[in-house]
């Protein structure tokens, strides 16, 4: 099993982002995804900067993949997507079906990201034919679902044609909206947001009236209130999962990669989850549940 560092979902200052990726180069990640996947207004790093950063990190012992936006509404956003797809060197994580269209037209190999509705082996087969090399399963799916999809994939003779990646640590991206919830939380309209999400490098915590943490607001993206953590489930991934993804939240994520590395190597013990963590989806129960 390999380890990946998912795309940064939050909005950080340019220097912080670049420093983070310099450090990530010496982390346990085998694969590093980078690029803006949430909001096109975030321009501390513009598309060109992301491509340059990705190219600078390439050929240093890690596989580098450019991640693209999940929700594309404006023609200008499709233009940026084209720019990523035409980078000429790196593969791309498609997070909207439009990206698969552009990438397959250009015969650029791609990763099917978690924001694409791929729920069964028939879809996997079609995507494999269009150039998919790796599938990041939608975050709401379970081990059971994965296993069934892979049995079908085996029967269709395509199981060897793609890798399987699972989002295993971090706040789960659960939804995308036209509305910016971070701007709303500051009583601003999206068109007048002043890029206020840069003030919340790990999003804004949202709780019920009883204090239960239910969401993290990250611009137009709504994340899980609890941190998804499949550290104790690595054993049950063997034989099914090829890549384990850690979603970055701070430099601590690099230490998390190390923990996963130890789990994969089989020399670690079961950790005790705190009550702000969850693993329900993998166990086929409500996402926010914790299966001990």
């Amino acid at each position: 099993m390999k380890l990946s560092l998912g795309p940064l979902l939050y909005y950080w200052p340019k220097q912080t982002t670049e420093d983070f990726y310099q450090q990530a180069l010496s982390s346990d990640a085998d694969i590093i995804y980078l690029g803006e996947t949430v909001c096109s207004k975030r321009r501390e790093l513009k598309a060109r900067d992301w491509i340059n950063l990705a190219k600078a990190l390439n050929n240093q012992g890690k596989e580098i993949v450019l991640s693209s936006m999940a929700l594309l509404e404006a023609p200008s956003e499709v233009k940026v997507l084209k720019q990523l797809c035409e980078n000429g060197e790196l593969s791309v994580e498609a997070n909207d079906i439009g990206a698969i269209q552009l990438l397959s037209e250009k015969k650029v190999p791609f990763v099917c990201g978690p924001a694409i509705n791929c729920y069964n082996a028939h879809v996997l087969k079609l995507f494999v034919n269009q150039g998919m090399q790796r599938w990041v399963m939608p975050v709401e799916l379970s081990r059971d679902w994965l296993q069934k999809a892979l049995i079908d994939a085996q029967a269709m003779g395509i199981r060897e044609h793609f890798e399987v990646e699972v989002f295993a640590h971090g706040h789960l991206p659960l939804a995308y909206s036209a509305r910016c919830f971070t701007a709303r939380s500051e009583n601003k309209a999206k068109d007048d947001c002043e890029l206020c999400c840069i003030k919340y490098p790990q999003g804004r915590i949202t709780s019920t009236q009883e204090g239960q943490q239910v969401f993290v607001l990250n611009g137009i993206q709504t994340q899980s209130g609890y941190c998804y953590n499949l550290l104790n489930d690595v054993e049950s991934m063997r034989g099914l999962v090829d890549v384990v993804r850690v979603s970055p939240s701070s430099l601590d994520s690099l230490a998390t990669l190390q923990q996963f590395k130890q789990q994969i190597l089989g020399d670690s013990q079961t950790i005790k989850h705190d009550n702000l963590q969850c693993n329900g989806y993998w166990h086929k129960i409500a996402g926010l549940s914790l299966h001990q």
Partner: protein, 331 residues
Amino acid sequence: MELLCPAGSLPALKTAIDCGADAVYVGLKDDTNARHFAGLNFNDKKLAKGAQYVRDHNKHLHVAINTFAHPGEQKRWFNAVDKCVDLGANAAIIADIATLDYAVNKYPELELHLSVQASATNTAAIDFYQKNFNIKRVVLPRVLSIHQVKQLSRNTDVDLEVFAFGSLCIMAEGRCYLSSYFTGESPNTVGACSPAKYVRWQETDNGLESRLNNILIDRYQSNEKAGYPTLCKGKFTVDDQLYHALEEPTSLNTLSMIPELMETGITSVKIEGRQRSPAYVEQITRVWRAAIDSYQQAPQQYQVKKDWDVVLANVSEGSQTTLGAYHRDWQ
């Protein structure tokens, strides 16, 4: 511009047709559609009757097959497509790529509409579905501004259908897992958002509480009107500020946009609400029929009539309506 109305039952279907719908959309009685609720939708017998009624009145029938096929159980989705063809339905509304692939290969003549659950919001995505599955129409997610809808309309020859009225999904449809995060069941996998079996109401000292899978969604004082605990419409706190962090209980209402939608060349306006009663269907259909006819008779003089708004407000969530994402200020 087609007026497309919801029918969760045979009486609702007949009502919609009688009150002026050009077309109705229905779902089968299983998890192949995104309104998979107890007591709702059509078994084979009812569906045959419904299809006959629609045909007798020279209207159109669309069948929604808009959840995602479970691995090992694809047959159920493929069978739904077979049924749709056997019935002589005018179109299948499909979200899942596996199901689209099956439909286009087995029934090249069947008109395919891309469900809103497929979440196609841009020209590249629409291209994908057009080139691979020859879709005739796309139902646009409720995340686009009217400006963006116009841009799309200029850049694609696929027909566009938009949501005109009803409960407001504020997330890109088909890519929202909030419901399964709370309950384990989502529109994509089970065909329901915030399923009723997880809802609990409780009178407490703090007021009437609504819960979804035991998670507190809202609290109401005796003078407040309580609404269904759809989780994105709950009241939550961000840094000690208590408010509707995602959205208020409200419904989409675009009556005032009819001229713009017509000028944009929108093929069909869709009314949400297969889970609602025939009485709801009747009121909404009458108002929308009157509004579209009024525009067509005298485009320059078109104005939203006060009594239309009153009728619509009465059947809206929280008795309030919004233009939603069509209007940039909402975003």
